[in-house]
């Protein structure tokens, strides 16, 4: 009762903002969405196998985007999938984060410059962590998840926020790559 009036702080009270507490809680219970796309999805499964065991960090797969916090884009995103990927992202509740796993999700990978491949998933959704590799090792995905954990609980603002992408961004609208024959 007398705490507010007195100058003396009891020793078992930690001062901080409520945001810090909430962010710490969020960073310790990141739930990724079960959305395997391509080769990287097998390594994503291997991250949850008994050898790497990402479960021990409080990360469990959720099958519905409504319950998930993290989307791991594990593979090549093509123009047919892009709309569905964006819809899944929109269905996830705020706050939400995206990990781009592997060369294909980063910039198209070996399939870059092909007619059907989106050259980087960051054209569709804002990406927080990029993982290089084709495919990345499970250890690399685990490091990315731990980096993301730091980023969520970031007090010093060391990490940049990703660029926001409008929900109606149309990958098909890129010049010459819309699958429609140009009028000559």
């Amino acid at each position: 009762m007398g705490l507010l009036g007195s100058d003396e702080r009891p020793r078992d009270v930690i001062l901080g903002t409520l945001d810090d507490l909430i962010n710490m809680a969020r960073s310790r219970s990141m739930w990724p969405l079960t959305f395997g796309i391509a080769c990287c999805a097998i390594e994503m499964m291997a991250t949850w196998d008994p050898k790497i065991d990402a479960d021990r960090f409080g990360m469990f797969f959720r099958n519905t985007p409504r319950q998930a916090d993290v989307m791991i884009v594990s593979g090549t995103v093509n123009k047919k999938l892009a709309k569905r990927l964006r819809r899944l992202y929109d269905q996830m509740a705020e706050p939400k984060w995206v990990i781009s796993m592997g060369a294909c999700a980063n910039q198209g990978g070996p399939f870059r410059q092909g007619y059907s491949v989106v050259e980087g998933v960051d054209k569709i959704v804002p990406v927080d962590v990029y993982i290089p590799g084709c495919p990345p090792r499970p250890e690399a995905l685990l490091q990315a998840l731990l980096l993301l954990r730091d980023k969520i609980a970031d007090r010093e603002l060391r990490y940049k926020k990703p660029r926001e992408i409008p929900a109606d961004y149309d990958v098909m609208a890129e010049p010459g790559k819309d699958g429609r024959l140009p009028v000559l």
Binding site: Y115, G179, R180
Partner: protein, 169 residues
């Protein structure tokens, strides 16, 4: 049937190159001969036209056969063989999707890998990898003799090898 068909032996397969009008009849004959396992249908852009390549296997004695037919770009229509071998249904859809080959009589000929709204048939040689039209691409002339024309009769001094059909490469 006056056969507009060329038969040759490539590696371990019998290869028939046939006029598109006779393609369906030849397939019916092969079906009757017991070729029951459809391996694949491949579409090819030959530069002068589009080619359908049908790969078949006979399960009883493991004989393999390939049927090819060429159609011009302007009218790329081939008879469908889906009713003979239901397993080629998706392959014909894929050839339509990738190359624009149209299969007459196919039950459900629509795009399979790309979305329905696309107009591009990306595996045609007139487009580059990204789907852009190549500026200086011109179709080649239709081959003469035609692909299904039988090879000319062998010269008298080479008559001894003619029975083998030739190890073409």
């Amino acid at each position: 049937m006056e056969a507009r068909v060329k038969q040759e032996r490539l590696f371990d397969e019998d290869v028939y190159t046939v006029h598109p009008d006779d393609y369906r009849a030849l397939c019916e004959r092969l079906k009757a001969e017991g070729y029951d396992f459809p391996r694949a249908i491949s579409g090819l852009d030959m530069g002068y036209g589009l080619r359908v390549t049908l790969h078949l296997t006979r399960m009883s004695d493991l004989a393999k056969v390939t049927v090819r037919t060429d159609v011009p770009y302007e009218n790329p229509v081939v008879a469908s063989v889906t009713d003979l071998w239901p397993g080629v249904e998706w392959y014909e859809r894929e050839a339509y999707d990738m190359l624009g080959l149209r299969f007459r009589g196919h039950p459900d000929l629509r795009r399979i890998l790309l979305e329905d709204e696309w107009e591009l048939h990306p595996l045609q040689k007139r487009y580059d990898t990204g789907g852009y039209p190549l500026p200086d691409w011109q179709p080649a002339a239709w081959p003469d003799p035609e692909p299904w024309a039988p090879p000319p009769p062998p010269e008298p001094e080479e008559a001894g090898e003619a029975g083998e059909g030739g190890e073409a490469s």
